[in-house]
Point group: C2
């Protein structure tokens, strides 16, 4: 296989989802490291922390108090990056004016939610079973469904999903005041990824504009579909299942791979095996299968360096307000970007060259996948007990 040589030489790989390249330098992991070390994660947390603004029954910054919730609990972020109501802004646009070309701005409104995964302060997705993760997937699905535009091509699926998933009173949110364009569900886990509270939670930022990344991916997926008549991620998932070397794990509905174009050392992507456009397309069984896949990633990550592995993760799916064609071109997937490279305390920095020139990685995605394949089994913390 001619690709074997890529284990030894510097090369660039192409990310078809974003249309950009990254530099891979496999030999560079031999480099010694004398720089910043991450503090190993403290795992000695209490199950309930009276100072945590996410624990059940506690008070939050703006005076609200949390219900005695059982697993998921959703609320509007007390420090939202976007708000539903704000002063209007109408930029003066004049095509011949340099300022209109070079000082462009657009107002953005929206609503930011925080959503807990569990009432317990001291656990993570890795500690939970797929069944325990399911309420989070269900709440994501209900929140997504309740934000779709009235004429959305997935409206019927949304109605079905809302009927199929029993509401969790603490996970319900009000419908937005104005129709929004996009919903970004993401988790920052661990201090190294800017998370300021270890209580297991994610965020959901809904915005009146389509952000850069999902916008780029949608455009690339549409282009591929137009040129090849097939879905990019459908072709990609099938190709990876055939090749095998980047596959970490799979069930009937989802495939976990270290993508060919991974930037972060142990980056993975969970890809739906059939054409799922958004959460509301998932059947009851598929939601559980998705929970299983998320659990596999989280547990394998923790097992890799026997630490609470930091990462940022996020779901890409059809926008909240889109055409039939945009919904059709969407293909449900979830990215995980973890910074750790060699051990629980040595991370990969995406800095100088990466910021000024091009993302750069050291170990290959194939090497990363082999390591992640090998660390299934029980969560190391359980095995130690």
């Amino acid at each position: 296989m001619p690709d074997q040589v890529l284990d030894d030489i510097s090369h660039r790989r192409y990310n078809p989802l974003t249309g950009s390249w990254l530099l891979v330098s496999p030999h560079r992991t031999k480099r010694p490291w004398q720089g910043q070390q991450e503090a190993p994660s403290k795992i000695e947390l209490p199950e309930y922390d009276e100072k945590c603004y996410l624990c059940p029954g506690n008070n939050r910054a703006q005076g609200d108090s949390n219900p005695q919730y059982k697993n998921t609990f959703a609320f509007v972020n007390d420090y939202s990056a976007v708000k539903e109501e704000q002063q209007e802004y109408h930029p003066e646009t004049n095509q011949n004016d340099v300022a209109s070309l070079l000082l462009q701005a657009q107002p953005v409104t929206g609503r930011c939610y925080v959503l807990t995964f569990s009432a317990k302060h001291n656990i993570t997705l890795a500690d939970m079973t797929a069944e325990e993760i399911l309420p989070t997937i269900n709440t994501w699905t209900r929140i997504y469904a309740s934000h779709l535009s009235p004429s959305h091509p997935l409206k019927e699926q949304a109605t079905k999903a809302l009927a199929a998933i029993p509401p969790n009173p603490d996970g319900e949110v009000d419908p937005p005041k104005h129709q929004l364009k996009n919903m970004q569900i993401f988790e920052n886990k661990g201090a190294a990824m800017g998370c300021s509270n270890p209580h297991p939670h994610c965020q959901i930022w809904t915005t009146s504009t389509l952000p850069e990344e999902p916008g780029k991916e949608l455009a690339q997926m549409a282009k591929y579909k137009g040129e090849n008549g097939r879905h990019l991620l459908d072709d990609y998932a099938k190709l990876e299942m055939e090749k095998g070397e980047r596959v970490v794990w799979q069930n009937d509905a989802f495939l976990i791979v270290c993508p060919w174009w991974a930037v972060w050392p142990f980056e993975v992507i969970i890809i739906a095996k059939r054409h799922v456009r958004a959460l509301v397309d998932l059947s009851d069984q598929e939601r559980l299968q998705f929970a299983e896949a998320v659990q596999e990633v989280a547990r394998r990550y923790d097992n890799l360096f026997e630490t609470s592995f930091p990462y940022s993760s996020g779901i890409h799916q059809a926008p909240l307000d889109c055409t039939n064609e945009e919904a059709e071109n969407s293909w449900f997937h979830m990215h995980f970007y973890p910074p750790l490279l060699r051990s629980a305390t040595v991370r990969k920095f995406l800095v100088g060259f990466e910021l000024m020139a091009e993302p750069q990685r050291d170990i290959t995605p194939e090497q990363a996948a082999a390591r992640l394949r090998a660390c299934g089994g029980e969560l190391y913390r359980k095995a130690l007990q």
Copy 2:
């Protein structure tokens, strides 16, 4: 002025240099911070450290020993991300084959240099005068000049620059074995930006391919030139000088602004005021003026939170191998991306939403510029002595 409202509302701004948008949430700086704190930088370093692989006279990883250099010293990185010689790789390309579409790779060769700014282990650019920084600018210029392709449109300027700048024997490098495409000069300063050795130094990565960022910028600059008949950064610098609110400092040759589209909290860009395509276009006087501008950024950064301020910086200029048109479209500038947001220990994390959706910032570039304008004057460490 209608733009005043942008101080209070969430909005997106457009980066014409890369053709992408970012989210600005000015009200969000009020958010309390309980997450990771950066360790305050240790400033108690010795002037010479026998364990530092960059100090004069010391031995390096692969057994070479450093000369007793005076200021700048250049050598090939012992752990280069790219190398000049490696096994060949010829991907099989077959347009109808899914693997050729989705598993694309290109070999990359090149040479990576490390370059010290000073023989002293315990100083930074902020501690140096413009005259003391000048040897670094001169060495950058000589190294750039010596890597240009034989038919490069700036070859004549390169010859002149090599004649005008006296060689520093410790800053000379061999010409590359094969012609390379691009040279990225960058500095990672501080542990927070992945720097593993405080000895003041930068890196220079030359590659056989044009990386993503300079590639995107060149394309955007060419597009703007084609559409408007003027240079993007010429128009932009003039506009900012007229507006004033984002200007940090300027001399006759260079302008420092917090760009309209800044992502990092105190991001700045140094822009040449006249059409400088690359380092070799600078006159003797302009190289000193450039050193002055770099000094202003470094000193103001340190003064801002009275700390050794971390950042990544990098120069964008004409590629090493390019057409006359590409050289003409290039406009010399230098980016500084610093992570600190509110104090010497609280940084801005570019994580979940930023990675999955769109870069997001809290304080506006106008607020950042006002703060940086106000902290000129002597370096705080000097004033404390």
